[in-house]
């Protein structure tokens, strides 16, 4: 009986137990359900999108930040690899006004050589607007003692006191409610003064670069300079901006905020390309001498401006100077006029310096012989050119020596307009030189079909249907160094030009006229002030009247020119000089006796001054025993 009961109770118990495992099963299936939801959720998250942007894109954008790697600007070098423009590595000092402790301000002011009050005020005004940046000092050289002093300051610990808000503890119930997100009890704070020894905070030396021009003003108009955004504004810096600046790299990288270390997996968008160096054909020494000569002359003759260019026989520009010019390292001022490259940008009538070309053409066309026994009649008026009454007839040599207009016009009368036009065209007048295209003025040469009879005459002595920049004039003189041929000009090394050398005049004519130009630079010629002791110099002066308000100004406002080359045989340097409106000129025999300004007593002196120095540095040219 009892056994029966026990079996029944066992069965009952089992029934009960079964009930329990159903309950266990219910809990189990509840979790199974949850896990299924999770499985679904894991696969769906990456497909979801927020406000039209897929979450994966969002993740991508968030994960990476665009990092620029700054390309270093290329240097500008001269033909001997001397640096004309480079980058200085500098530091700038940023103070974070929100972090700097008051206790450190006197020490900081001492290092910065400032008044404590001034620094405090500066910091306070920035702190007021919540700014974290106060660039207190820029362009700190790496050797500046400030850097070492700052290093010491950063190691120093002094007692720093600060008022700190300490949160008061919440009572238990409020804490529970807060944690359960049911009630927000505002935590109250008590202001407590806390003092501890601490290091200075918020002082950062940041990397900075500055464009530096070691040759200062002497090259400024040619090189131009970079602006505040480190972009080339004018001159070489502007023209070759793309090559010099290089290309900043862009990559998507992930930053570890607190250490500033980047994670791996960076993705490069644009590869950084460092700026390329540009080597000019300029010779820094020649440039310097030319600049000093021009500067001296402009100051002495009180000219408005002066410019000069020195060429090598193969067309390479050795110097290109302009005055007035500013020191490009001084950022405090900027005067656009002082960065004007007058050699290339101004088109002017070159005046008498063009006479040798009229003679060369006449020689080539066999209209003159240019010998001592050939005389040109200068007693009759031709067009509006009147005889001066001083000479009746002149040799070609005399015409050039005295820069006689009527004599030149007489020779030009024997030439055809077309032949003159073609020759002047071949000499490159009216054509772009392609040195710095953005600032270059290509001048003009009107087509002969539109010439009046007076145009041919004036053209023969450098006026009328032509205007040229100084570089074009200097280039025309290259015929004397290349046996009548004219090569293209070159300002940047390692760039070959498309244009080839053009033969303009015959070798024989060149030799004859060169000989005559040698005579111009003698005591008998107008170029007597360009003579350099020990060297054979050939050249031609020029004095051009400037058009003021539509007509030639006869009263003093003039341009004076000198174009010459040295030595006469196988010239090595070709130089052209231009002075605008010199106001004070003196006779050669008395340096204090005022005289009318002409090419002979102003521009020619620049040539002598500059060439004298250039030649004395050049040992390859043999001294001539003639003088």
């Amino acid at each position: 009986m009892s056994g029966k009961i026990s079996t029944i109770s066992k069965t009952l118990a089992l029934g009960r137990v079964q009930n329990y495992w159903r309950r266990q099963g219910a809990i189990k299936y509840f979790f199974v359900f949850l896990f299924s939801v999770f499985s679904y959720q894991t696969t769906s998250i990456s497909q979801s999108s927020i406000a039209g942007l897929s979450i994966q894109d969002r993740a991508y954008h968030q994960a990476a930040s665009l990092e620029r790697t700054i390309a270093q600007r290329g240097d500008i070098l001269d033909r001997n690899s001397h640096i004309l423009a480079s980058n200085l590595l500098l530091k700038r000092l940023n103070l974070d006004p929100t972090l700097i402790q008051v206790e450190f301000i006197p020490k900081l002011a001492h290092i910065l050589d400032m008044k404590v009050q001034t620094l405090s005020k500066l910091l306070a005004s920035k702190r007021k607007i919540g700014s974290r940046y106060l660039i207190i000092k820029k362009n700190i050289m790496l050797t500046d003692p400030i850097i070492e002093q700052l290093k010491q300051l950063k190691l120093m610990r002094i007692l720093v006191c600060a008022n700190k808000n300490i949160a008061n503890k919440l009572d238990f119930m409020a804490h529970i409610l807060n944690t359960l997100n049911l009630q927000k009890t505002k935590t109250t704070h008590t202001l407590v003064k806390q003092c501890k020894r601490a290091r200075i905070a918020g002082v950062a030396l940041q990397q900075d670069t500055k464009r530096y021009y070691p040759k200062a003003a002497s090259l400024a108009p040619l090189l131009g300079r970079v602006n505040a955004n480190k972009k080339g504004g004018s001159g070489i810096e502007g023209e070759f901006e793309n090559s010099l600046a290089g290309r900043d790299g862009q990559s998507l990288i992930n930053f570890k905020a607190h250490t500033n270390k980047s994670y791996f997996n960076s993705k490069t968008i644009t590869q950084r390309q460092q700026g390329q160096n540009i080597m000019l054909t300029i010779d820094a020494d020649i440039q310097y001498h030319a600049y000093e000569a021009i500067k001296k002359s402009v100051q002495k003759h009180e000219a408005d401006s002066g410019s000069a260019i020195v060429l090598a026989p193969n067309g390479e520009v050795l110097a290109m100077v302009n005055y007035p010019a500013d020191n490009p390292n001084d950022n405090s001022t900027y005067n656009a006029e002082h960065y004007r490259n007058r050699v290339l940008s101004d088109k002017v009538e070159p005046g008498s310096t063009m006479k040798p070309f009229t003679m060369l053409l006449a020689l080539d066309k066999n209209q003159i012989t240019a010998t001592e026994d050939e005389f040109i009649d200068v007693s009759k008026r031709i067009g509006h050119i009147k005889p001066d009454g001083k000479y009746k007839q002149m040799t070609i040599k005399k015409i050039l020596q005295k820069s006689h207009n009527l004599g030149t016009v007489n020779v030009s009368e024997r030439l055809e307009s077309k032949a003159m036009y073609n020759t002047w065209n071949k000499l490159g007048f009216g054509h772009q030189l392609g040195l710095i295209p953005s600032i270059e003025n290509s001048g003009s040469l009107r087509h002969f079909s539109s010439w009046a009879s007076s145009d041919k005459r004036t053209l023969s002595f450098g006026y009328g249907p032509m205007e040229a920049n100084l570089a074009q004039l200097a280039r025309a003189y290259l015929v004397f160094a290349n046996e009548g041929a004219i090569p293209p000009l070159k300002l940047v090394k390692n760039i070959s030009t498309y244009e080839g050398t053009t033969q303009v005049f015959s070798k024989q004519s060149i030799a004859k006229i060169a000989h005559l130009l040698d005579a111009v630079v003698s005591n008998q010629g107008s170029g007597y002030q360009a003579q350099i002791k020990g060297y054979n110099v050939a050249g031609k002066t020029g004095t051009a009247e400037i058009v003021v308000n539509g007509s030639y100004n006869k009263k003093g406002t003039k341009r004076t020119f000198f174009a010459g080359f040295v030595p006469v045989k196988k010239p090595k340097y070709i130089m052209a000089v231009r002075l605008d409106h010199p106001k004070k000129c003196y006779t050669s025999w008395n340096p204090n006796l005022a005289n009318k300004c002409e090419g002979s007593n102003s521009a020619a002196m620049v040539f002598k001054e500059a060439m004298g120095h250039i030649l004395s540095n050049d040992t390859s040219i043999k001294l001539s025993m003639k003088n």
Partner: protein
């Protein structure tokens, strides 16, 4: 104390546990190294795992009746430990506003993790002993409430609301399966909820606050807590199906505040992708389902204590696992819950391993000869 069963642990289950353990060990290494740039956490975690495995191995040798006989003692010791954390430093340790740790110099011990297991061991014993009470309306229930209440109060004071919730919920689930009358459970349950709702209505903006996570657009929510959720989702999205590769995740560096503990699942999602996440989910599901099966088998053998313990362990781990994953998947607002077996953390790792060892032991006892089984509980 030790007793042989003549059985070996279930190979499949053991293999699943060790697989998940290894997987978690590698991922938490990746996360902690990225977040702290230090190997310390990896080394510590390795030590914890070794310690956990050896303690687990010991637990395999201990028969269940040992726990049943000593569960009161365990419970009291744990309660004392829970109280000890409130002692001032150097004994109690407060981190980020919570006082949860006892400082043992070399490591910090978190008694709330121990309480999770001890509560199961104690509750199971209590349920077996009070079987009749339980069916008596309300008497057993009140007793249960006192037990749960005493530990929960201490946990709430720390405050460790997560642990209090897990422990209470596990205890209630055990109560349910121990045969409490549903009517009774329903009445008490409703009244608890009613009290809660009543309190809720006393607080301004209560409902908004409680539900703001689900109501507001997650991506427009600027609150700092939601930031974690957003970052977890972004990390998982980065991972896509195959993940960005072990160690290649970037969310662990600064975006996720606790990548090696609470947010480890998001790191798994980022580095090993959906495949990795599903692997963790399925492996864990396998372990728990196996555990529920063991509990059921024990019940069939009329070994109620073992069954309750096994069920309790499975419920606890599943709950902890579910909450953590739901949090990482952006289904619930973030709270501090670790992922068992995977997250970094000494106490939770050690007790999870001991619990699973107990589960294996129950299975071994289930399978041993009838003669031996007789004195098993």
């Amino acid at each position: 104390m030790f007793e042989k069963t003549g059985q070996v642990p279930d190979k499949n289950l053991l293999f699943a546990i060790l697989t998940l353990l290894t997987f978690g060990w590698i991922l938490s290494f990746s996360a902690s190294l990225g977040h702290f740039s230090s190997y310390d956490y990896f080394i510590k975690q390795t030590i914890f795992i070794i310690l956990g495995l050896s303690l687990g191995y010991t637990a395999l040798k201990i028969p269940l009746y040992f726990y049943k006989n000593h569960s009161k003692l365990f419970f009291i010791i744990t309660l004392i430990c829970l109280a000890l954390v409130f002692l001032p430093e150097p004994i109690g340790k407060t981190v980020k506003g919570s006082t949860r740790w006892i400082d043992f110099v070399l490591f910090k011990f978190q008694p709330s993790e121990m309480m999770k297991l001890v509560m199961i061991l104690f509750m199971a014993g209590f349920l077996v002993r009070q079987e009749k009470d339980l069916r008596k309306p309300y008497m057993g229930f009140i007793k249960t409430l006192i037990i749960i209440g005493s530990s929960s109060l201490l946990l709430l004071l720390e405050p460790d609301i997560g642990a209090a919730f897990i422990i209470s919920a596990t205890a209630f689930a055990m109560l349910l399966t121990a045969g409490v009358y549903l009517k009774q459970l329903f009445i008490v349950g409703t009244s608890v909820v009613a009290i809660f709702v009543a309190i809720l209505f006393q607080i301004p903006n209560r409902v908004e606050r409680l539900t703001s996570f689900w109501r507001e657009d997650l991506w427009l929510n600027k609150s700092e807590k939601v930031w974690q959720t957003k970052q977890a989702l972004i990390g998982i999205a980065r991972g896509d199906w195959t993940g960005v590769g072990l160690g290649n995740g970037i969310q662990k560096y600064t975006k996720l505040p606790e990548p090696h503990t609470d947010m480890i699942f998001a790191i798994i999602g980022e580095e090993t992708g959906i495949i990795g996440m599903l692997f963790v989910l399925f492996t864990f599901a396998y372990i728990v389902l196996k555990g529920f099966k063991i509990a059921k088998d024990a019940l069939k053998n009329n070994r109620k204590y073992s069954s309750y313990v096994g069920f309790g362990i499975c419920t606890w781990l599943s709950m902890q696992f579910s909450i953590n994953i739901a949090m990482n998947l952006g289904l619930i607002p973030p709270k501090g819950f670790t992922l068992p077996l995977i997250s970094y953390g000494g106490s939770s790792m050690i007790f999870a391993l001991i619990s699973l060892a107990i589960l294996l032991r129950i299975d071994m006892e289930n399978r041993c000869e009838y003669s031996k089984q007789k004195h098993y509980v």
